[in-house]
Symmetry: D2
Subunit: 134 residues, 4 copies
């Protein structure tokens, strides 16, 4: 499991006084940075090997400015051409949001998906976590 | 059905040369503006009656800078305390992304959900569209 | 003079109930889209000819969600290797913010500035406006 | 002097392969968080005492994804009703951007500026730095 800690930004609040819902996909992408480094250590963009196929987020509680957010991230599924990343955001000991992202192994030059290489599968498997309790 | 047209912003692109996935929740919230006006015409924040409980987005094709995006939005479900909004984003005659948002009728002072008022239900029903073809 | 009209986005508000200051550089870049099209009509990124060297923004009044913003944009200065774009944002007949951006003619492959081509200068000159009244 | 360290976010890159210029006002506001805590320790929004009157940013080098950015922040000027914050962003031992923000002491209820209280002046003075070398 990967853990990312971040401080909500003032500009991420909205007029309702909480963190705007559109900020969570950004935070969860920040949390995937550890997975980016795992499967593509150079982080170079001209051979970037993934594309986002789907995201979903459940908002459980309002998230506040002024208190640290901690995001737990793990691999929830490894398929032939795609894998699923699972995120949980916690603030002040409460689960505030959780969500998933499906990443497809992707060749940007040919604009097509391709099988996840075996060595990458092995790396991902180390972080595979099929069940978890909230 | 509501239709929103927008021009991708330069700052919404990313290093992979397309529109970043985190932009779509923002665009879909822009598209819900018509629904905000429908159910809360004043748009005043101190009595804002909704909170986002869930979003999901499927990314179907890469979206490019320099070409207009059109978003079709309709009500997909009306429940007792929540309703679901459905969005489809089109660019150059292709469906590029689709997603849903679940909005809960919400009292921010008491921090609790409440039944959708009957007059609001009637307004929403006019835009209810249970099946659609892509 | 170019004119851009935009509707403040819900996600662009902040906890103080107004549009967050960091949104204006985004809006002003949106307003420069007309200048991008003027000097680089294809909008292709692999031969993008400019880089931002400086921005400044004066915030004159608070900007509100729920009311259209109109941005007037013109060329304020044309130099040898750079030019200055000037923006004014209006909401409800009030000037809410104004600012400038200095754009340098730039070769991204060689990572160096270069003289603005004469034909581009001529295009820019048509939109040059050295004095203006608020 | 305050120091903020941050990791550029994937969504903060743009199609030109660098960090988009509109991200720096966000980062500099993140860097001002230390000053917010200094002059308004509760961070509560209903008595937030400042408003941004002006920002300017000079972009010195392109900023890249994949390498940490460090922001040095200090008070550059303390006036009667406003003060100026100065920021420098460094990446890989190079100054990549620098900028200032003018913050006005502000009463949001009365919508007017007011003198900076003496105790706040004293706090700010401890971080006043009138000259610096790059």
């Amino acid at each position: 499991m990967f853990q990312t800690t971040l401080e909500p930004r003032f500009s991420e609040t909205d007029i309702l006084g909480h963190i705007n819902n559109t900020v969570f996909p950004v935070w969860f992408e920040v949390a995937r940075q550890d997975i980016f480094k795992l499967v593509h250590p150079t982080l170079t963009h001209n051979d970037w090997p993934m594309v986002v196929a789907r995201i979903d987020i459940d908002f459980i509680r309002q998230t506040q400015y002024g208190s640290t957010v901690s995001i737990n991230t793990y691999i929830a599924r490894i398929g032939h051409k795609s894998f699923t990343v699972s995120h949980e955001a916690w603030q002040d000991s409460s689960l505030v949001a959780k969500g998933e992202a499906v990443l497809v192994w992707f060749n940007y030059t040919q604009e097509c998906s391709c099988p996840i290489p075996e060595d990458i599968c092995l790396l991902l498997k180390k972080h595979l976590q099929t069940a978890h309790n909230n």
